[in-house]
Symmetry: C3
């Protein structure tokens, strides 16, 4: 019997080199079917992504795929190379949506290692990657940074020179809008869109409870995570999970982001396009059977440079589990309310 | 901190005005992906909706979307405006399918308030709406009446003048057939369709046990109901449901109708098009883990005016939970068998 | 009250005649939505089936549907006629994939009864059928034999003359390759495909542990099995199942094959096309909540006649439940390890 190792063991911390480029496998043609599955998984109701007619009338070719669906597909490709041996996905930053993705486009991902920092326990280290999603024409559609804590294969392996990238707290509003065609505000029908509130109606500091709750089932997050071809073992293997601290499968953090974003329609119905991800943090894990709620704060209201048609809202969306958000559970003095699971900071575009 | 109410609180009973028109949000482009998801959710096997070849050969452009899928999408849009504060969905009547819906069509819904009746407890009232679904060309595809019991915001609010619309017990057969192109009965292949029984083989009073059972999972009804962008909270929020009478999420009634219709293929395999919904009543709630069975009675066998190709069957389909239907559990003396969950009366077209 | 039997009772053993041809119902147009659902259900990552660009570059029109998706759809059609009264699905053999299936193709199935053998208990018998799947142009896309144990309606019914077909242990490599267009090996990008191992890198006797595990939920296998319009009652009816030996719904065996094949990407990432099914046996049932693992052995490495572009690997994939496969749980002395649920022998094509 010959036993060979043709399987992918994933990279360990000491396998990453600062500045190296990783071309990820499994390009993926996304279609209207991915959009329909996305609707079935999250119940998203933004008119631009729901109706080809609506999208076409305001300036898109047709309905673009949901920005977060694009994010998940682009992200999924990085998992076998970046986070198969990850202990935790620590955060996202500096994300930009660069171009609409339409049904029929084929997405692929390339990452660059932009930071490395071994932890003091010498058992793990933090890897920073900038990942870029491209369409079949080679145009970038998405660009973001994430950092993950990755196990070392060998504790004795020498630590690389520490390099922590300098990341902006938020995208500059002047960079927003490249991923959104010019919008015909006259053609944008607020009644069909489901919200009468446009850019000028939102104020810095405003808080919105998104009210509704969504309970998550194992089958749902597994279907979603496989749809994104995200192979992280922790989401799928209950037999292995039984022996872990949580004794449960962990739900892919991106699933929570999409749930919170879909819930946020109730209050942010015209904020149809995510232009940039400023930062994201999974504060606590979500498990099947839990119910997700969300609230948002308007962190900033800005003009999008050169765009008389749309303005930008910097939104911080906080998601909780098993706790409605009428009183805006938050972080106080560095400590999060124990119900909080997600703290997500992004720029959205909304008609003026 | 500024807290604003940009979220949709839904309408309460006293917010409805007789005769008012409500344009519902979130137009939806339906595609072959919705059809595939519908198949995955219900296992429907009607050849016309399953095979573009079969449909084209008998006279359709290609496979139309399942009539009930159209119903659910059109219905879903009404929820945020009509039934967000509903206590119960009481019934449907006077529904007509007016035109085939094909992949790529975009559906939107407009409702008219056609009846109002406050309940004697003054806490709730019944709202009757006629909802019309349109395609992107402005043509009506579906038209139906439903009535729901809606909470009052304020018990002291004055009661509107009572008006209960007069609704026909069943559609007149002369009105059927508009939603179905001329069918080439020679080209209609009974073997491929899976049934040798055509219009002339059914008799008034005939009863058919559909035999098979289908157990429903939480993930399934949630995926379905989100696919229809139906936002009724009772289907999705287990945290809130835990404190209610049933302590469970309620399954969207339309999910039961679709399950019963899919089961009815076994005995009604050629009754490929729902032409009209005469009436529908959700007798009892369905919960995840329950198994649905169904039986049907042929209430009437009629010619469809001006249609030598197809005839009409008026069918009453009764669905039960956790009880096979070999002995046709029914209503006796006004009381339903405790297993009955649905009593659905409709006209279907079937080749002659 | 008239009760008629228009429902399909299914065939019993004595209803089958050697040599008879059965045209199965419900032709099915398969689309990109079926491909997306397949990805969501199994997480498959073969680049040819995932990316239209990748597939087109190497010689396909676009991404073909996964071979096993085609198998399941073709198989599903046979259930109402062949295995509605089956006690057990005993095995598959002599399967050939004859032509790529693309989104938009319409599949139908015809079976021939090629063997009959009553069991000594006289209560059941084994039926052998050769089923052929066709596309809308009448071209064969798949051809395979399966045998099932079917109940007799009447124990006293006379036994048919026994005939057991002679089936080859494995397809001859000279017959492989008809279902795969000429592949441009230069254009085949190993990095995008996710594996650096081509035909020449595999050796007879080599064993590969596919490492990852996938837990199955009720909603998942039900969605899959309905998507294939497979109506076997044992997969869907928990109320009836409660009274059986297992007290659970049984998971469609094909679901296990697809899970094992998707897991096998990790080690066999370039073996993109199943050319032939030599044999398959469901050793033990799988239930929801179980976690599936798999390992493979390279049984043979062969040239595919007339194909300088691709070679063939004869692969035996063994799937287990709730037991990782690092030590290759197997059959020893005729007895399978109790964790084994599937023993599947097939030929795959892989670029040279």
């Amino acid at each position: 019997m010959t036993v060979t190792t043709k399987t992918n063991p994933g990279r360990f911390f000491e396998d990453f080199r600062l500045g190296e480029t990783i071309h990820h496998a499994t390009p993926r043609t996304v279609t209207a079917a991915d959009a329909a599955l996305y609707t079935a998984l999250y119940g998203s109701r933004f008119a631009v992504q729901s109706s080809d007619e609506f999208a076409h009338r305001i300036g898109y070719e047709r309905s673009p795929l949901d920005d977060l669906l694009v994010f998940h597909v682009v992200f999924g490709k990085t998992v076998p190379d970046v986070s198969l041996n990850a202990v935790a996905n620590l955060g996202y930053a500096n994300g930009h949506f660069l171009r609409p993705v339409y049904p029929g486009d084929t997405l692929s991902t390339v990452s660059e290692v932009i930071g490395l920092k071994e932890n003091s326990n010498r058992k793990t280290g933090v890897v920073y990657v900038r990942s870029r999603g491209f369409n079949q024409h080679g145009y970038g559609v998405l660009d973001y940074v994430r950092w993950v804590m990755v196990r070392k294969r060998d504790e004795a392996a020498p630590a690389p020179e520490e390099h922590v990238p300098d990341l902006p707290a938020a995208a500059d509003p002047s960079t927003l809008g490249v991923g959104c065609p010019p919008i015909d505000g006259e053609a944008y029908d607020d009644v069909l869109a489901g919200s009468l509130h446009r850019w000028g109606d939102y104020a810095r500091g405003e808080r919105i409870d998104h009210v509704d709750g969504m309970t998550v089932e194992e089958a749902e997050h597994q279907l979603a995570t496989r749809l994104y071809q995200n192979t992280a073992k922790v989401h799928f293997d209950q037999h292995a999970a039984a022996g872990t601290r949580f004794a449960r499968r962990l739900i892919y953090g991106g699933h929570v982001i999409s749930l919170a974003r879909a819930l946020s329609f109730n209050g942010l119905g015209n904020a149809f396009h995510i232009a940039a991800i400023n930062g994201g943090r999974h504060v606590a894990p979500l498990f099947a059977g839990d119910t997700v709620y969300a609230w948002s704060e308007i962190l900033d209201v800005a003009e999008a440079a050169g765009r008389p048609d749309v303005g930008a809202l910097r939104i911080r969306t906080v998601a909780t589990k098993n706790r409605p958000c009428a009183d805006f559970p938050d972080r106080t003095g560095g400590e999060y309310d124990p119900a909080v699971i997600l703290d997500f900071d992004y720029w959205a575009l909304i008609p003026r």
